[in-house]
C-alpha cells in the first residue's frame, strides 16, 4: 500500500498522481508558497506563508477542533535549529538530525513509578497530595467494596452448586471498581470488559437485578439472552457486557466521539485487563481516540494474569502505561489497590478528558485474587501462597477500611452488621431470582432486527404450534 500522507491528499488530487515519499524529502527553503506546494513540503508552525490551520490547503479542510499537530512534535527551538543542516520539516513536524546512530532502548531502564496515597496500612503517606473524599462518599465506597466481595463469594458458590451456569469474580479489584465509579458522574458512559460489576453497583444496580441476570429470568434486563455476569443497564449508562476481549475499546472511542459531537459535559470510561492490551482492538482504539481527540478514559486493570498467561508472557514493555505515549496519549500508573489513589487519578483524568477533549490511559496495578472464572482453577498455574499473599497482605478492602475507620467513619460493629445484612439481602434476592419465571419464548425472536422479519415471525408461529401439539416435550414453566 502506497505511503499516504494525511495532509497531501488535496495536493495529490490536484496533481492527479500519488506523491512518493522520496519526492518530499526536501530541505526547508524559503521559497514561495506555490513552489513549496508543488514540492509537497508542508510547513508547520514556523512557516511565514501560512499557519497550521491552513496547512490543509482548503478552507473546509480543517480538522474538527484540531490541535496543531506540527507543534506537538516541535522540538524546543533554538537558533541552531534554524540551521538548514540540523532539522527538516518531514510530514508530521520538524525533526532535528543527529549524526550518532542511536537506537532508543527497548526499555527506559527505570519503570514508570506507581501513584499511591495510602500506605499498606491505610495511612496517608507523608507529603502526598490528594483530594480527600468526605464521609458519605468514603462510606459508600467502602460499603460498595464489601457488597461486591459478598456478592462474589455467594454467587460463585451458587455456580458451584449448579444453580447458575457461570460466574466470574472481581476479588482483589474492588478498589478499582468502586473508586473509579465514585470518581465519575452518572452521565459518564461506561463500557466494561466484564470484571467491573462494582461500577454498576455504585450506580444503583440492585442485588436483585444482578441475581436476575445471573438466573436469566423474566426480570432480567437482558431478556435471558446472555450468560451470567453479562450485565447491562441503559438507565445506569452501563453498556451491556460483551464477551470478546477488547471489542469495547474502539466502541468507547466512538461513543466518546458522539459525546464530543453533542458537546456533552461527560466522558466515556472503558475498562480492560492486561491481556486485552495485546488485542488489535486496543491499538486501534487508542489511536482513533487520540486522532479524533475524544473524551475517553481507558482504564487497564493490570491484575497480573490473563487466565493462565502471566504478565511476563503478555508483553515486553514496562506494563501498559508506556503504551499511551506511543499513541500520543497522556497516561498514569496507579496503585489499583489504593482506593483513594484510584479515585484521585480518575477524577483528574475525567476533568482533563472533558476540558481538553483528549483520551487518557490509566494503568491500575492490582492482582486477580480469584480464578479467571468458574471455568478455571488457577492453582494449576500459579502458587497458592502467591494468591494468599495478595488476598491478605495486599487486600484493597481491608486497606481502605483502615483509612475509613481511622477517620472514625466506620466501626467493627458496622462491619459485622453490614456484612450480615448484605448476605441476607443477597440470599433473598437469589431465592427470588431462582423462583421467578423464565423469559417468554417470544424473546428468542425479538431484537434480532428492529422489527421481526417474516422468517422469524413464521418460525415463532410454527414453534408455538409445535409446543401446543407436543406439550410434554417442552418445559411447562416457560411461557410462550
Amino acid at each position: 500500500m502506497a505511503f499516504w500522507l494525511s495532509k497531501s491528499r488535496s495536493i495529490s488530487s490536484l496533481l492527479g498522481k500519488r506523491i512518493g515519499l522520496l519526492t518530499i524529502l526536501h530541505e526547508r527553503n524559503k521559497g514561495s508558497f506555490l513552489h513549496s506546494r508543488r514540492d509537497g513540503v508542508f510547513r508547520y508552525k514556523n512557516s511565514p506563508e501560512f499557519s497550521t490551520k491552513s496547512a490543509t490547503f482548503s478552507a473546509t479542510g480543517q480538522r474538527f477542533k484540531s490541535s496543531k499537530t506540527g507543534e506537538q512534535v516541535e522540538l524546543p527551538s533554538s537558533d541552531e535549529d534554524d540551521d538548514e543542516n540540523q532539522a527538516v520539516d518531514f510530514p508530521g513536524g520538524r525533526v532535528a538530525f543527529t549524526s550518532r546512530m542511536n537506537f532508543t532502548s527497548e526499555s527506559s531502564g527505570k519503570r514508570i513509578p506507581c501513584f499511591r496515597v495510602l500506605d499498606d496500612n491505610g495511612y496517608p503517606i507523608a507529603g502526598s497530595i490528594f483530594e480527600q473524599v468526605n464521609k458519605e462518599v468514603a462510606v459508600r465506597m467502602y460499603s460498595g467494596m464489601v457488597t461486591l466481595q459478598i456478592m462474589d463469594t455467594i454467587l460463585y458458590e451458587t455456580q458451584r452448586q449448579g444453580r447458575i451456569s457461570f460466574y466470574l469474580t472481581s476479588t482483589g479489584e474492588e478498589a478499582i471498581n468502586l473508586a473509579s465509579a465514585a470518581a465519575l458522574s452518572p452521565d459518564d458512559v461506561v463500557l466494561p470488559q466484564y470484571r467491573e460489576p462494582g461500577v454498576l453497583l455504585w450506580r444503583g444496580f440492585t442485588l436483585q437485578e444482578f441475581a436476575n441476570q445471573c438466573f436469566g429470568n423474566k426480570a432480567d434486563y437482558g431478556k435471558g439472552r446472555q450468560m451470567p455476569i453479562h450485565y447491562g443497564s441503559q438507565k445506569h449508562n452501563y453498556f451491556t457486557v460483551s464477551s470478546p476481549i477488547a471489542t469495547q475499546l474502539p466502541q468507547a472511542a466512538g461513543v466518546a466521539y458522539s459525546l464530543k459531537m453533542d458537546k456533552k459535559d461527560a466522558c466515556v470510561v472503558t475498562y480492560m485487563g492486561d491481556g486485552g492490551t495485546s488485542e488489535g482492538d486496543f491499538h486501534a482504539a487508542l489511536n482513533f481516540a487520540a486522532v479524533t481527540e475524544v473524551p475517553v478514559i481507558f482504564i487497564c486493570r493490570n491484575n497480573g494474569w490473563a487466565i493462565s498467561t502471566p504478565i511476563t508472557e503478555q508483553f515486553r514493555s514496562d506494563g501498559v502505561v508506556v503504551r499511551g505515549q506511543a499513541y500520543g496519549i497522556r497516561s498514569i500508573r496507579v496503585d489499583g489497590n489504593d482506593a483513594l489513589a484510584v479515585y484521585n487519578s480518575v477524577r483528574t483524568a475525567r476533568q482533563t478528558a472533558i476540558n481538553e477533549q483528549r483520551p487518557i490511559l490509566i494503568e491500575a496495578l492490582t492482582y486477580r485474587v480469584g480464578h479467571h472464572s468458574t471455568s478455571d482453577d488457577s492453582t494449576k498455574y500459579r502458587a497458592v501462597d502467591e494468591i494468599e499473599h495478595w488476598k491478605t497482605a495486599q487486600n484493597p478492602v481491608s486497606r481502605f477500611r483502615k483509612w475509613v475507620q481511622g477517620n472514625g467513619w466506620w466501626t467493627d460493629e458496622d462491619e459485622s452488621e453490614f456484612r450480615s445484612n448484605i448476605r441476607k439481602q443477597l440470599m433473598e434476592a437469589i431465592q427470588l431470582a431462582a423462583r421467578k419465571e423464565k423469559p417468554p419464548i417470544a424473546n428468542l425472536f425479538t431484537d434480532v432486527y428492529e422489527e421481526n422479519p417474516p422468517n422469524l415471525v413464521e418460525q415463532e408461529r410454527s414453534l408455538g404450534e409445535t409446543i401446543k401439539k407436543h406439550p410434554q416435550d417442552y418445559p411447562s414453566d416457560v411461557p410462550l
Binding site: S10, F64, Q234, S242, L259, D262, D447, V448, E450
Partner: protein, 345 residues
C-alpha cells in the same frame, strides 16, 4: 476500505432510540421496468446523490472512514461531501481493518443488549472482484455477511438500485452491509424522474425482475446482473426466454419472488462471482428445492467463481470468474439443450 455512514449513537435516554429520523413518505418503486427515462447517471453519481440527500435531510447522519473526506472517497463516491457538510460530519479516520466488529458487535449488539443498544449503521464499499487486483482484493463477501442474523445485506446493480437501496439503508435502524462493485461505479444507467426524487427509496428484501421470461429463471446480483441480461439476449436467439432476477437484497432474500419465478419457468440458474461452496446460490437452490421440488423440471444450476484465490494474470482471472458464455451454457443445460458437462469438482 469501507466508508461507514451512521446515525450517531446516542447513549443515555430511557426508552427507544432517539436520533432516528422521521421517515418521510417514501416513494417505493414497485415498477418492474424502467419508465421512459430521459437521464443517464453513473452508479457513483447515484451513490453520491443518495449520501448527499440523506445527510441533508437528517443532521444525525455522518460519514466516516479512510479517504472519505479530503480525498473525496477512494472511488470518489463521497465527492463534495466534506466541502458541503464539514469535517464534523465527514470524518477521515486512520486505518483499521477488521470484520469482527461487523459480525460480532454490529450484528449481535441489539439482540445481546435486549434492544437497549441499537446499531443504525451502514457499512459500504466495493465488494468482489475488480480487474487485476489479485486474491486479497477480489473476494466477494456476500455469502459471509448474509449468513449472519442481525445484519441486512444489499447488493445494488444499476444506478436506480444504488440510489434507492442506499437511501433505505441509511434510514434503516439495523446494521446494513452495502456491497458495491468497483467496476460498476463508472457505468451509466437510465433513471426516471421518480428515481431522481429525493424521497425515492427501494424496499429491503425485495428482488426485481429485470427481464420477464418463461423458460428458465436466472438469479444474479451486482455486476452479474449485467452478465445475466447479456446471456438472456443470446438465449432469446435460441428461442429460450430467460427470466432475469436482480436480487438487490441478499439478506433478507426475496424467496417468494424467486420461488414464484421458478414455479413459472421450472428451471433455475444462479449466478455469482463468489466462491462456490456455501455461496448465495447454494441458499437459493436450497430454498427452491425445499419449497418447489415438484415444480423443478431440471437439476438446479449454480454458476460461481472458481474455488481458488483470485489469480492476478488477466487470462487466469478471466477463467476464474463467470463469463456470459458460462451463464448461457448453464441455461441451455437446464433446458436440456446441451449435454450436461461435468462441472468442476
Amino acid at each position: 476500505m469501507f466508508g461507514i455512514i451512521s446515525h450517531k449513537l446516542v447513549a443515555s435516554t430511557a426508552g427507544g432510540s432517539p436520533g432516528q429520523p422521521i421517515l418521510r413518505a417514501a416513494v417505493l418503486a414497485m415498477m418492474s421496468n424502467y419508465s421512459t427515462a430521459t437521464k443517464q447517471i453513473m452508479v457513483r453519481e447515484a451513490l453520491n446523490s443518495a449520501l448527499d440527500e440523506e445527510m441533508a435531510a437528517d443532521p444525525t447522519v455522518f460519514l466516516m472512514g479512510e479517504e472519505v473526506g479530503e480525498y473525496e472517497g477512494a472511488y470518489k463516491v463521497s465527492k463534495g461531501l466534506l466541502r458541503k457538510y464539514g469535517p464534523q460530519r465527514v470524518v477521515d479516520t486512520p486505518i483499521t481493518e477488521a470484520i469482527d466488529h461487523i459480525i460480532n458487535s454490529a450484528a449481535k449488539t441489539n439482540y445481546m443488549s435486549a434492544g437497549n443498544i441499537n446499531v443504525p449503521i451502514v457499512f459500504r464499499g466495493p465488494n468482489g472482484p475488480a480487474a487485476g487486483v489479485g486474491a486479497q482484493h477480489s473476494q466477494c463477501y456476500a455469502a459471509w455477511y448474509s449468513s449472519c442474523p442481525g445484519l441486512k445485506v444489499l447488493a445494488p446493480y444499476s444506478s436506480e438500485d444504488a440510489r434507492g437501496l442506499l437511501k433505505t439503508a441509511i434510514r434503516d435502524p439495523d446494521p446494513v452491509v452495502f456491497l458495491e462493485n468497483e467496476l460498476l461505479y463508472g457505468e451509466s444507467f437510465p433513471v426516471s424522474d421518480e428515481v431522481l426524487d429525493s424521497s425515492f427509496c427501494l424496499p429491503i428484501g425485495k428482488a426485481k425482475i429485470e427481464k420477464e421470461g418463461k423458460d428458465v429463471t436466472i438469479t444474479a446480483f451486482s455486476r452479474m446482473v449485467g452478465y445475466a441480461l447479456k446471456a438472456a439476449e443470446i438465449l432469446e436467439k435460441e428461442d429460450l426466454e430467460a427470466e432475469v432476477i436482480n436480487l438487490r437484497s441478499i439478506r433478507p432474500l426475496d424467496r417468494s419472488l424467486i420461488n414464484n419465478s421458478v414455479r413459472k419457468t421450472n428451471r433455475l440458474v444462479t449466478v455469482e462471482e463468489g466462491f462456490p461452496q456455501h455461496g448465495v446460490g447454494a441458499e437459493i437452490c436450497a430454498s427452491v428445492v425445499e419449497e418447489n421440488f415438484n415444480y423443478l423440471d431440471a437439476p438446479v444450476e449454480r454458476i460461481s467463481g472458481a474455488d481458488a484465490p483470485m489469480p492476478y494474470a488477466a487470462n487466469l482471472e478471466r477463467l476464474a470468474l463467470p463469463q456470459v458464455e458460462d451463464v448461457v451454457r448453464a441455461a441451455r443445460r437446464a433446458c436440456y439443450r446441451s449435454v450436461p458437462t461435468a462441472t468442476t469438482a
